[in-house]
Symmetry: C2
Subunit: 134 residues, 2 copies
DNA sequence: TCAAAAATAAGAATGATTGCTACTTTACAA
DNA sequence: TTGTAAAGTAGCAATCATTCTTATTTTTGA
């Protein structure tokens, strides 16, 4: 018998804040977003729930960027670009890696590849427009 | 007039320790390797030089894995697999991403992609052999 | 409404990384 | 070699994102 998953109001609010943005926020950003509406929200709660969402597959971690872990409410595999100018993390579609290729890699190397993440570095579209191409 | 790069004995030893392993070590690992031979070596020196090598292109960071930054003495682009069982970081050749594709991505998205890093998750060959496939 | 289980707040603790200052080492010229 | 200015380092102290702890509150299911 499957135990029903609990969803407190705050947990739900954290998940919605995460799903409702494409900025790949830090825990602290989510905390700042929700604090006005939930004045007694604790940063620890945000951390705990973000971790939980990643473990359950409802979200994923983009990794630690400039000292902060960045989260993504979209768990579907896709690439990210980290802008070296402004620090933004933006989604990049057209993921040029397939599960087939991962299977081939597994066979070739003796490893068992289960997922792949692609992180690009460069300039985001906004910074390119601003002429910060150099 | 180009200023000649200084290479103290300790800096050189740190670079050689990094180049001489494929384990993608942490700063602390390098420190532990060199401490017997250089008893007055400071962990801060290891950190500072590893950072310097990354900035100068002599090495690269694999990113923060399980709370520790991992470094790679091979700055040529290649993928890494992080074993979810034993935590090992292993090189994966046959990098399925080309600079051409990066150029296309740049054109499509308006970003300026300058480099790409691929990180795989799964089991390393050793853990697969140990039957920890599940 | 009630009791057990789960979740949270608040703040302390952790620990990798970086900063700081006085001391060494190095490079280079005379 | 020897002097000296610049670069590098040791040894801690400080930082600060993240995790842990405990008492309290909320939620769930009956």
């Amino acid at each position: 018998m499957e135990r029903k998953e609990h969803f407190s109001r705050k947990r739900l609010a954290i998940l919605e804040a995460l799903k409702g943005t494409t900025c790949h926020p830090t825990a602290d950003w989510v905390y700042g977003q929700l604090k006005p509406q939930y004045p007694d929200l604790s940063l620890g709660t945000v951390y705990r729930n973000l971790k939980r969402f990643c473990e359950s597959g409802q979200a994923m971690s983009v990794g630690v960027i400039a000292g902060y872990e960045r989260f993504d409410g979209n768990p579907a595999p896709h690439a990210h670009l980290v802008c070296r100018q402004c620090g933004a993390v933006v989604d990049v579609c057209g993921l040029p890696i397939s599960m087939e290729e991962l299977g081939k890699l597994s066979a070739m190397t003796g490893c068992q590849v289960e997922s792949a993440s692609i992180t690009l570095k460069g300039l985001c579209a906004a910074c390119v427009k601003d002429g910060k191409t150099a």
